[in-house]
């Protein structure tokens, strides 16, 4: 049963990720990115990380994917649908990916012996205690980063006034 769940979620995640990377139409890429992020949320659920699952759905699928869709629709022209979307360096990029895979392969197969021992526990209450106790300082730092990003986004997207 868990194998069926894992392989179907993997198929959804990987096929939609390939679509994100390879499709010509950026709008289709953005829609498939939403599907891929939802699949990753499913992977989190299969790993027993319930709070991570819900925040992935809320922040990534509900926030980031929608924001990307808005920007894609605001910044494109219909003539771009016929343009090539992959640059000239795709062969070099493929080589870089192959080399990176060779580096990671050893660790993947070394880690293969670990198996599940316990059934998953709900994590939300413990996460709240951790974030407001031991991890309070990084938590506040992240809220500072979010405020800075908010202000930065407003500053960058403000229409520039011409000097008289």
């Amino acid at each position: 049963m868990s194998a069926l769940v894992f392989y179907s979620l993997s198929a959804v995640v990987l096929i939609s990720a390939l679509g994100v990377v390879l499709l010509k139409n950026t709008l289709h890429s953005a829609l498939l990115l939403g599907l891929c992020l939802a699949g990753v949320a499913g992977v989190f659920a299969s790993l027993g990380a319930d709070f991570l699952f819900s925040s992935q759905l809320l922040i990534y699928v509900g926030g980031i994917a929608v924001l990307l869709l808005f920007v894609v629709m605001l910044s494109g022209r219909s003539s771009e649908l016929k343009l090539r979307q992959v640059n000239d360096q795709w062969l070099a990029a493929l080589l870089i990916c192959a080399v990176t895979f060779l580096g990671m392969r050893r660790y993947i197969f070394e880690a293969g012996t670990a198996v599940l021992t316990a059934s998953p526990q709900p994590t939300t209450a413990a996460l709240g205690k951790l974030l407001l106790g031991e991890y309070a300082v990084p938590f506040e730092a992240v809220s500072l980063i979010l405020i800075a990003a908010l202000v930065g986004a407003v500053v960058f997207s403000k229409a520039r006034e011409r000097k008289p």
Binding site: A3, F6, V13, L14, A17, V21, T26, V40, V43, L47, G48, A49, F51, L52, S55, Q56, I59, I64, L67, L68, V71, V72, L74, S75, R84, Q85, N87, W90, A92, A93, I96, C97, M104, I108, A111, G112, T113, A114, V115, L116, T117, A118, P120, T123, A126, L127, L130, L131, P138, V142, I145, L146, A149, L150, G152, A153, F156, S157, A159, R160
Partner: protein
């Protein structure tokens, strides 16, 4: 399912995202590739937490921080894309060559 299955899934997702970030011409496409790489890292964190420290939750906490920082990054990045599009009228990375003078 062993840990290696999840690591292989996350490695594949990371490589797809890396390929997209390196080859897309559109800045929005590059940002999407970066998002895929963030998600691969988060799968790794959740998988290590579940398999190696099933009684702990620090992996989930770190993944939450990654999600928050990725959200901040994508917001600023998209605001920059819109600002560039307004002033340069393009979203293609090779056309943005103002620093060449």
């Amino acid at each position: 399912m062993t840990l290696a299955h999840y690591l292989a899934l996350s490695a594949a997702l990371f490589l797809i995202g890396l390929f997209g970030a390196l080859t897309r011409r559109n800045i929005i496409g590059i940002l999407m590739g970066i998002e895929l790489m963030f998600n691969a890292a988060n799968i790794n964190l959740a998988a290590f937490n579940r398999f190696l420290h099933p009684e702990g939750i620090v992996g989930s906490a770190v993944a939450l921080f990654v999600i928050a920082v990725a959200a901040a990054e994508i917001v600023v990045g998209l605001a920059l894309v819109l600002a560039i599009y307004r002033s340069q009228n393009t979203v293609y990375a090779e056309d943005i060559s103002l620093l060449k003078g």
